[in-house]
């Protein structure tokens, strides 16, 4: 299978898995540790995929989706990171930081998609008043839009990474990104520690 085809399939798969984060199921199939490992395996770099995924997961532990808050998107981050390495040809260290930024940058897009659905409420009411009780088509449309947006975004990130890899001198960044990457587990451990430390000292 060519790299292009594998990247397209991986992006489409990310779009499907991404639905799990909010819209369907919430079984944690969209978590970066799983998406990263799975996409890494599909693209022939399971170890790097797992490493990028778990580090993203550790950093994203800092964010909780409460009260309608849109946290950085873990599936987008893992897909962008793994595809930047596997398809874009960038070093895992730089690919990881691209993934980290891509997950954060996806949140405003996700907010816009949610906001776009706000106008649906009245239209759904009108439809029900007219006697049509089929609500599933609204939900299907929402899921299709979210899934397509995430798939397209992942593909775009992979293409951008491939373009970046072609820039002369990009290798000069690697000593810096490699060192920063080697420190990320410690930042993740810190995130895990503070997530529970705050709770353990809280009453109730």
């Amino acid at each position: 299978m060519t790299t292009v085809l594998r990247t397209i399939l991986s992006s489409a798969f990310t779009g499907l898995l991404g639905l799990d984060s909010v819209q369907a199921g919430q079984f944690l199939l969209s978590r970066p540790a799983f998406v990263g490992t799975l996409l890494g395996w599909l693209n022939g770099c399971a170890l790097e995929g797992a490493r990028i995924g778990i580090l993203l997961e550790l950093l994203y532990v800092d964010f909780i989706p409460v009260g309608g808050v849109v946290p950085p998107n873990g599936a987008a981050a893992a897909a962008a990171g793994v595809l930047a390495h596997a398809a874009g040809g960038l070093a895992p260290s730089l690919a990881f930081f691209i993934g980290l930024a891509a997950g954060r940058a996806y949140a405003p897009l996700e907010m816009r998609l949610r906001a776009a659905r706000s106008s649906w409420s009245r239209r759904v009411e009108e439809q029900v008043r007219a006697g049509d009780l089929n609500l599933s088509r609204w939900l299907s449309s929402a899921m299709l839009a979210e899934s397509s947006a995430l798939a397209a975004y992942s593909l775009l990130c992979a293409a951008a990474a491939a373009a970046l890899a072609a820039v002369p001198g990009v290798g000069l960044l690697y000593p810096g990104t490699d060192f920063a990457y080697s420190l990320m587990p410690w930042l993740g451990i810190s995130g895990l520690y503070f997530r529970f430390r705050t709770q353990a000292y809280k009453k109730g």
């Binding site: 819209q23 778990i54 950093l59 920063a180 930042l187």
Partner: protein, 276 residues
Amino acid sequence: MLFKVFIRSFFIQAGWNYERFQSLGFAFSLMPALRKIYPDPERLKAAVLRHLDIFNTQPYMASFILGNIARMEERASASADPAAELKSMPGVKQALASSFASIGDRVFWGRLKPMTVQLCLLVWTLGGFYGWLFTGQPGRPSTALLLAGPLSGIVLYSAAAVYCRWRGLARGYACGGASSCGLDFIDWGKLIKRLSAAGFGMSMAIALFAFGLLAASGSCPGRVVLLKVAVAASVLALHRVTRAYGRSVFFAAGIVFAVSLVLFSVFELRPLTLYL
């Protein structure tokens, strides 16, 4: 009827929006119950419109409310004065939504979800894989082991979530109409405390284990080991400071990234390798 509502409840957030939050998903999930309760199309239409109003709670805990409301609609349908029966419904729905959102966010998002990361690390450690910590670790772990880490968390977490969804629906249906229905399902306070303690203990164990591995890694002279531990500890301190100033982990990661680029890519210093 309840089983169909249960299956549909997995899509309760599919139409989430900023105007009415989960209302579309709530009405969709409740539809099989409403269709059975109201054979009359006009009454069915009125019932669906009632549930297209604002609704938001933690998705797994929504089942308690779905069961409760299904029972309330059933009573209203059989009542000689449905308006009187339905009068308390918005209040019950709102009260339960707020309470269950608070409980569900603490139990699932705040505790169980981060614990799946700990479980993943535990499975990998038991399988002999520390590559998440040391990027230069020799040897390649099997794909099965790499996938087993996140999958173990997914399986355990999903089992708890699906149990909560199904039992919550049954419990809500059994005690429908009460605005405290399901809040005594288990001792939530005790569960939250226990999960916090377990999570904190695991976090401490992971941190100590990671520092232990770092200290024992390679055959470096004592002062190099000390330097490595100090660099790792300084990252934890940096995160602590950025948190104190209300900044997210991205800010700390950004500082690490920028400083590393300046030192090792711009000034081309020889980097200290933290890994094996």
